[in-house]
Structure formats: C-alpha cells, structure tokens
Amino acid sequence: MIRTEELLLNVGPQHPSTHGVFRIVVKLDGEVITEATPVMGYLHRGTEKLAENLNFTQIIPYTDRMDYVSAMTNNYVLCHAVEKMMGLEIPERAEFMRLIVMEMQRVASHLVWWGTYLLDIGALSPFLYAFSDRERILGLFNELCGARLTYNYMRVGGVKWDAPDGWIDRVKVFVKDMYNRLDEYHNLVSGNEIFLARIKGIGKYDAATAIDYGLSGANLRCTGVKWDLRKAEPYSLYDRFDFDVPVGKNGDCFDRYEVRLAEITQSLRILDQALEQFPGEGETMGKVPRVIRPPVGEIYVRIESPRGEIGCHIVSKGKAEPYRLKFRRPSFVNLQILPKLLIGESMTNMVTILGGIDIVLGEVDC
C-alpha cells in the first residue's frame, strides 16, 4: 500500500496561471487536492474609497482599471447608472458607438481568455493567433480614443470621441475577417484530442449550484441556464438586435469553452447589425448639466460584461461625488466556487479549472 504525506503548497501569488496576483493555498494528498483556500487582495487599490472623493467624470478612468481587459463595459456601467439616476437621454449615435465598442470589447476579452487558457493548458501557438486578432481591435480602439487598454472613452451623457473617418468601415472589415478566423480557431483547437481530454468533464457543477453561488456569464450559461442580461433585462439598444444566448448543458470546462467561443460569434452578429444601422450623423454627447449631481437616492444598475453581471450601486446625497459607490464584480463572485471545485481534483486540473472561470484580478480585488 502506498502511503502519502499531506503537503501544503502555495500556488501564487506570482504563478503565471493565476493571470495576476492571486494565491491559492492547497493541501495535497499525493496529487489530490484536499483543501483549497484562495487568498486575494494583492491588487486591492480601494477604488470604492477613492471614488468617494472624486466626481463622476473623474471616476470613469478608475473603472478602466478594474477589469482591464474589458474596460468599455466598466465605463458603461458607471455612466449608465448615473444617467439613469439623473434621467438623461443619450443621443442615438452615442448609444450606437457605445454598443459597438462594448461588443468589440467582448470579442477582445474572449480572445484574451481563449489564448491564455490554452497557454495554461500547454498549447502555445493559439495564444499568438488570439493576440494578433485582439491587437486589431485594440488598434481600432486606439484610433478611436488614443488608448489600447484604459480607454476612458464614455462619459455621462454620451461618448467622448466620435468615430474618425472610415473607422466604421474598418470595423466592418474586421468583423468579416473575424468570422473566418473563428473557423480557423475551431479547426486548430476545438477538436484536438489532447485538449478535449484535458477539459471534458473537468470542473463540473449543475445549474442549482451555479445559481446558489451567484455565478454569471459563461460560468452560469455553461450549465444550461439561459440568462444573459442583454436579453433578460435589456439595456442600451440590445432589444433592437437579433442574437442568441448560447448555453451549454454539462457545466464543465469544455462547455464554458464552447459558450465563450459561441459568444464571439453572437457578438459579431450584433456588430454586423449595429454597423449596418449606425446613424450617419448626429450628436455623440447628450445635453448634460455642467456639474453632474445625481439626485438624492440610490440605484443598482447591472449589465452583462464578458465575465458576467457587472453591477454598480450608487448612493447619492445630491453631491457631485458619490456618497457610496459599490461595484458588483463578476470575477469576484464567480471565483467563490473555486475551492468547492478543486476538492478531489488532481493538481494538474487546478490550472484548467481556475482558467475556465475566467477571472481578472484587477476586478476581483477592485
């Protein structure tokens, strides 16, 4: 009989597969994990505290730095919350610009996930494919607002910059190319036997568990729950477009992989329609008071970020600064299920499961 010894192992905080600064203390019995304790806070910058001394326009750049691979959706949730509180109307062209950049951002974000996830599992070249395509999106964003990652693009009442000449056409070209690239991705990876052996049936949970843990985004939809805030509680202009909500059924890492790739296709579909309907002219900034002071009261606004439900809870006392600003970060909530999934798994699967949840540490720690 083989006798094993219990081993306490620190994974992180600098381990590359954590995609940031994150530590998991795992207790190992041989190769099998018996206990896992996530330790976080290494990237905690106190965004919510800082925001209490800033006006709403000044907070927008801070939201860029929460989920730094999906800054556009973060911008949007804050602006949307303030607009809703103040009852502002947004010009249609501005709303279209927002929707287009948000969907491009979703594609870019899922590409980062796809590349790095496969890198975690051991496939090096997909990373280069994904990042070269993502670079095209970042290039387009750069043209639009002069930044590749931290855009500070949206404002309460609209967007800061109008699309430069020919930009919409360049996005159209990108969308067309991206369909073909997606086919290539599937050919390259999705049917690979080694890959399937690594992720099929790993990190499984059912719909009831997912709901109990408050999971959202692909982590929830992989169990078959058709819940996408763009459909369930439509915001922006999403009710004008025709798109599906892809769902899985087994709730394992493979389903999460498939759901995310299918979501890229759906985002491209939305982009197709949005670019076609894009109004030729119009304002990009609504009529907004010079000083943004939401009326006394509170609001909780949520939208679908690439990682799930990102929410913004504002308590206002009628000042230019929020009295309390709280972000519901999908990465933070989704990560809660990790210790439960890891128990009984082997050490090699730890990276597969953690990667499958798709966390961004800037958002976990806020």
């Binding site: 976080m40 806070g41 905690h44 106190g46 919510e48 505290k49 006006n55 326009t57 000044q58 809703k84 509180m85 009852g87 109307e89 500070n152 404002r155 800061k160 709901i211 109990d212 843990y213 408050g214 729950v225 819940w227 369930a232 509680e233 009529k287 008071p289 010079r290 000083v291 943004i292 002071r293 009326p295 006394v296 009261g297 509170e298 609001i299 909780y300 606004v301 949520r302 439900e309 929410g311 809870h313 308590v315 009628g318 000042k319 230019a320 009295y323 309390r324 709280k326 519901r328 933070f332 909530v333 990560l335 809660q336 720690d365 806020c366």
Partner: protein, 305 residues
C-alpha cells in the same frame, strides 16, 4: 496627460467654478455692465456656502455662468438653452410617464382594494422617494399615480408581516429611479427569517442573490441585499440596518452561498459583523490591518497614501 486634465476641467466645472468667480470678482469694478455687477456679491459669497448650494443646483449655477462669461469662459447662452430644454424635456417625459401609468394605476387600485390588509407604509415612503428624484420634479407633479410594482410591494409586505414577524418590516417603498424596485427595510432580528422567506416562499423564490452592499450612513450602518427570482425576473432590495458602534447583521451565507465573500468584504471594509458566517475574516486588506477603510470616520495610517 495635461491635455487630459484640461478635458476633465471642461467636463466638470466644479473645478473651474471657483477660479471663474475669483477672476470676475477682481475684474468686475472696472469693466463690467451694471447688471452683472449686481450679481457679483452673490458670486463672491459662493465659496462660503458651497455646502448648501450644492443641494440646489439651479439658482447657484445661474450667477456662476454669468461670472464665467465675464472671465471669458464658456458662453452662457448655451447653458441657458440647456436649462430650458432640460425643463421642457423633463416636463414631456413626466407627461408621458403619467399617461403610461394611468392604466397601471387603475390595476393597482383594484389590487390594493382586494388586499386584505390596508397598507399604510406603502404610500408615505413612496412620497419620500419622489423627493429623491429632485425637488423640481416633485413640484410639477403633485398627485402621484401608484407604481406598477405597488401590488407586489404590498403583497410581500403582507407576507413578511404574516410569516416572518408582525414588526419585521420597518419601511416599504418603491425606488422609482431604479426601475420601480420594491425596497424593504427589515429589522435585523427578523432578517434571517425574512431571508428564508424570500428564498423559499412559493410566491417569491428568489434563488439568486445578485449583490450585497454595505453603506455607512454615519448614524447607522446598512447592508443592502438584492435577491432575484430568475424565472419571473422579479428583483427586490432589502435593507438591514445596524447600530454603528457594534454593527451586526445575521449572515445569510447558509441561504445564499453568494453572500459568503460579499459579507467578508463588507466585514473587512466596513466592520460589520455577520454572526453565523462560516469563515468571517478579512478578504481584501491584510490580516493585521487596523480599522475598516470604507467607514466614514476611518483615519488612514499614512495620510500621504
């Protein structure tokens, strides 16, 4: 970077207002028409009374904009236009809302007539939230048609009173700004029972807890829960208040697993205790940190940071 700063200023005149008033104060005796100079004292008084003026934007911003004109900044004509237009648009939206609500109001009146218990809380705090929407709005619209969610609010209030405790609900109102969200203030000692009701009762069955926030109101602490029923897509806000010196709210982690880390975060940043939580310890700050940073009376260890 400096360009960026300028842009911010353009966006937020909060920063540029004091400058404008200062410069106009120094220039006004020499170069300004009579009408404007009568307004200068008001502008000069501004810095001392900012705290009160912040509450009432419209009267304060009018002299400020003329001051800005004298200082050679943004043209006030545009500003005036926006104000007028804004008022007109507000009026229009209110009228539209009213028209839309008429049907809902009739339905609500019917439903509340049927309800066994006359709801006293329902109407008064609803008026309170109307206040929140801004004083001008309240003035334009004296009789407020009941919200489409009013029957649901009444029904849940009744349920909580019958099944949790008679005095479980301190307040119940509709948060109109937030899509007419039914909001309840539940007493801390009855919260656990009320939470079970929200989770398990057939009519509610809120299986998904979407968010938990903690707020420091300086006189008391508040934890806000946002449960959601994924099938009917009905959402609620539940507020539980706690004493500020020894804040404690029963943990709902056994009911919704989502609450686990959220409560840990609130404990870490606001110092609210959650009795019944399986593993209440700091999550963001280091374990040996002193104090709870999001509290309003928090004094940072190093003021430079």
């Amino acid at each position: 970077m400096s360009e960026e700063n300028n842009r911010e200023k353009e966006q937020s005149p909060a920063a540029s207002e004091p400058e404008a008033s200062e410069s106009s104060a120094s220039e006004s005796p020499a170069s300004i028409p009579v009408e404007a100079s009568t307004e200068t004292p008001a502008v000069q008084a501004q810095p001392e009374t900012t705290a009160t003026q912040v509450e009432t934007p419209s009267p304060a911003s009018a002299p400020a904009s003329t001051a800005a004109q004298e200082a050679g900044e943004a043209p006030p004509v545009r500003k005036k236009e926006t104000d007028e237009e804004k008022a007109a648009r507000r009026k229009a939206t209110i009228e539209a809302k009213e028209a839309a609500k008429v049907a809902a109001a009739q339905a609500a009146a019917l439903a509340s007539a049927q309800a066994s218990q006359p709801v006293t809380d329902g109407n008064t705090p609803a008026g309170k939230t109307a206040d929140n929407e801004g004083a001008s709005l309240e003035n334009v619209e004296p009789p407020k048609p009941p919200s489409p969610n009013q029957p649901r609010l009444d029904r849940v209030t009744t349920l909580l009173r019958e099944l949790a405790a008679e005095d479980a609900v301190e307040e119940a109102y509709i948060n109109e700004a937030n899509d007419h969200l039914p909001t309840f203030v539940v007493k801390s000692e009855h919260w656990l029972k009320a939470a079970q009701l929200f989770r398990n009762h057939v009519e509610l069955s809120c299986n998904y807890l979407r968010n938990v926030s903690g707020v420091d109101y300086e006189t008391y602490m508040e934890v806000v829960y946002y449960p959601l029923n994924m099938d009917t897509r009905e959402c609620y806000a539940i507020k539980v208040r706690a004493d500020r010196e020894q804040p404690a709210v029963p943990s709902v982690t056994p009911i919704w697993e989502t609450a686990n880390w959220n409560e840990r975060e609130i404990y870490d940043l606001l110092g609210i205790d959650f009795p019944g939580h399986p593993d209440l310890k700091r999550i963001m700050m280091p374990d040996d940190w002193v104090g709870h940073p999001l509290r309003k009376d928090y004094v940072p260890l190093d003021p430079e940071v």
